[in-house]
């Protein structure tokens, strides 16, 4: 077992990906893909299944999924039929807590006559008669009857998973939003997200031969809690060592989104966030009448990719994040022109190791594009904080009543109320994964500490305001292009922003321009003589 992952299922998937990467770089994948299973399960003693042959057959399927899967199935998440253990844990069962009482409330409650008793008066449920109504469980004074559900079905908060006639897990395509919760939860690794790592390798290798093509990695802010065995700067160095030209924070796209979305909210009065592709897909599939309220902004990764493509039209862009739904998002017509491929942190780890890059030995490379607010998008509630800040920095008056929905179950509840006009809120932050992006299925590790890691990472950003982060982007969407009223700093540059607590002036360039008329007669202050205050953040909420 490797220290890098939460579970052995993830490790298994990683081993396959790593072998695929190795062979792809040797141009031997086509010929030698069939040798991968035996490399991973070499002996005669099975360690996972009934026999090594089944293990290898399943691994062959994993190789197929690691190489892009079948295009016949449009879903980026697939069930590997032979890997599904057809979990017997189905429905209501009597546990050891049954004391064989006299009352037999369970028997009275069951309308199907499914409950019988043995010679110790302990209850048993006849599975042929039981209809899973749950009445027996409700009335048992000892809570001795429990509902055992399949981990995949339990993980799927929108009930898109059932089973087919062979009891193999079945994904309902009309409901599935590609969040990947089942992928992470299945104890047998029978549900897998397709990997497009071969496309990424192809992009990188083509760019290697053509110096005019730069490949940019757009990394999600949740990266800060990943790769815990190395420093973030070393992860960035590792990404560049793989052949990427530059690494840019998706969080900068989040700043841009927060900047525009806060203005959009004030204009429209009611808004659903558009950042999480699984949430957006969920609204389309389950609440079509609410689609009109989804923010018109592209997601953060697409927004920053759009900007990068503008500055460097020949470039290729790969998103690296915690998200399986992003693999679906990059196939959408409106995102396709900007992002060329999406991969997960799991796949990045496989790319590092497939190329034998030990990131712990690398010197750190900087990563600093976004603000505190862009970075905290990675956790539930962060987007809401950012939109609140955006409204403030725009100087707008608005009675902001947000609801941050943590996970699809909460999203469904809020949308249900909103679709009936009964939601007291005017902004829905929808995050499909529990905890936000840090709970994404493509994360190497999930844990309690990761949310506080994100806030810490946010505070390390040089920019502590949204307008500070977006102001240098010379596009009509951002404020500074027209704003020529900021005098040159002349001040020696302070290399790192102080902690938010220590700062005072909220002066963001857009919000409070220093009132120097652009055509003022005297020359601008000479260097070092009139230092302008560095815009600093308000304390983070």
């Amino acid at each position: 077992m490797d220290r890098k992952f939460d579970t052995k299922v993830q490790y298994l998937k990683y081993q396959v990906l790593r072998e695929v990467v190795r062979l792809a770089y040797k141009d031997r994948l086509l010929e030698e893909a069939s040798t991968i299973p035996k490399r991973i399960v070499p002996g005669k003693v099975p360690t996972m299944r009934c026999c090594v042959f089944k293990e290898r057959a399943i691994l062959q399927e994993r190789v197929r999924m690691a190489s892009g899967g079948t295009s016949a199935n449009p879903n980026i998440i697939e069930v590997i039929d032979i890997a599904c253990d057809e979990c017997p844990v189905g429905g209501f069962e009597v546990t050891n807590a049954c004391r064989g009482c006299i009352a037999h409330r369970c028997e009275q409650a069951c309308r199907k006559g499914a409950i019988t008793f043995d010679q110790h008066q302990k209850a048993h449920i006849d599975k042929n008669k039981c209809v899973e109504c749950g009445m027996c469980a409700k009335v048992c004074p000892y809570n001795a009857i429990m509902n055992f559900r399949r981990p995949c079905e339990q993980a799927c908060m929108i009930k898109a998973i059932s089973m087919n006639e062979d009891k193999v897990a079945l994904i309902d395509e009309s409901k599935c939003v590609r969040c990947g919760a089942c992928v992470y939860m299945c104890p047998f690794g029978a549900i897998v997200d397709k990997s497009y790592i071969l496309n990424v390798i192809d992009i990188l290798r083509k760019a290697e031969k053509d110096p005019e093509v730069h490949v940019y990695a757009v990394v999600a802010p949740s990266i800060s809690g990943q790769f815990s065995y190395a420093k973030l700067g070393q992860v960035i160095a590792g990404i560049m060592k793989c052949g990427f030209f530059q690494v840019v924070e998706a969080a900068l796209g989040a700043d841009m989104v927060a900047y525009k979305e806060s203005a959009e909210l004030v204009e429209k009065g009611f808004l659903l966030s558009s950042c999480c592709p699984a949430f957006v897909d969920f609204v389309h599939k389950e609440f079509p009448t609410m689609v009109q309220h989804i923010s018109h902004n592209l997601s953060p990764q697409a927004t920053i990719a759009q900007y990068i493509k503008k500055t460097d039209p020949k470039c290729k862009i790969v998103f690296i994040g915690p998200c399986t739904a992003k693999k679906m998002e990059v196939q959408l017509e409106e995102v396709k022109p900007y992002v060329d491929a999406a991969m997960t942190f799991e796949e990045l780890q496989a790319l590092f190791d497939g190329l034998d890059i030990d990131i712990t030995t690398l010197p750190e490379e900087p990563l600093d594009n976004a603000s505190y607010y862009g970075r905290i998008f990675a956790r539930s509630g962060g987007l809401t904080d950012a939109v609140r800040e955006g409204i403030k920095e725009h100087g707008l008056e608005f009675d902001f009543k947000p609801i941050a929905c943590n996970g699809l179950a909460e999203c469904r509840k809020a949308l249900l109320l909103a679709s009936r006009g009964k939601l007291p809120n005017n902004f829905i932050e929808g995050m499909a994964c529990l905890g936000g992006c840090i709970g994404g299925a493509g994360c190497l590790t999930h844990g309690d500490k990761i949310a506080s890691n994100i806030d810490k990472y946010g505070k390390e950003a040089l920019e502590q305001t949204i307008s500070g982060a977006v102001s240098q982007y010379l596009s009509k969407d951002y404020p500074v292009k027209e704003n020529t009223e900021i005098p040159p700093s002349g001040a020696p540059f302070v290399p790192h922003a102080p902690t938010p607590e220590a700062s005072s002036s909220p002066a963001a360039p857009s919000a409070q321009p220093v009132p120097t008329p652009p055509a003022a007669a005297p020359a601008p202050p000479a260097a070092a003589s009139a230092p302008a205050p560095e815009p600093k953040a308000q304390p983070a909420p």
């Binding site: 730069h214 940019y216 960035i236 030209f245 530059q246 690494v247 840019v248 924070e249 990068i308 500055t311 460097d312 490379e365 900087p366 990563l367 600093d368 594009n369 040089l462 920019e463 500070g468 102001s471 240098q472 982007y473 010379l474 500074v480 292009k481 704003n483 020529t484 009223e485 900021i486 005098p487 040159p488 700093s489 002349g490 001040a491 020696p492 540059f493 290399p495 790192h496 360039p509 652009p518 055509a519 003022a520 601008p524 000479a526 260097a527 070092a528 560095e534």
Partner: protein, 81 residues
């Protein structure tokens, strides 16, 4: 039209690219040169050690927040006047 491109990559950002951009924007506005100068950004020029990297019609210059004024006077002004 003079094309000025400022690097906005992480390394240059940490060296003060935002300040350089803002100062240039101010100076361009101050001298009424909006029609003569096209200011844009790019992520990384592959010359991180020289940051903040600024190209003027493709020619690389190394600028710091405190030298922006001098850079503008000595490199930009002769090209537009």
């Amino acid at each position: 039209m003079v094309k000025i491109t400022v690097c906005l990559g992480s390394s240059c950002h940490l060296k003060g690219s935002r300040q350089v951009v803002q100062d240039l924007q101010y100076l361009i506005g101050h001298h009424n040169l909006k029609d003569k100068i096209d200011l844009s950004g790019i992520f990384c020029m592959g010359q991180c050690q020289k940051g903040v990297c600024v190209t003027v019609d493709g020619e690389l210059h190394s600028v710091k927040p405190e030298t922006t004024q001098t850079f503008f006077d000595e490199v930009i002004m002769p090209r537009v006047s």
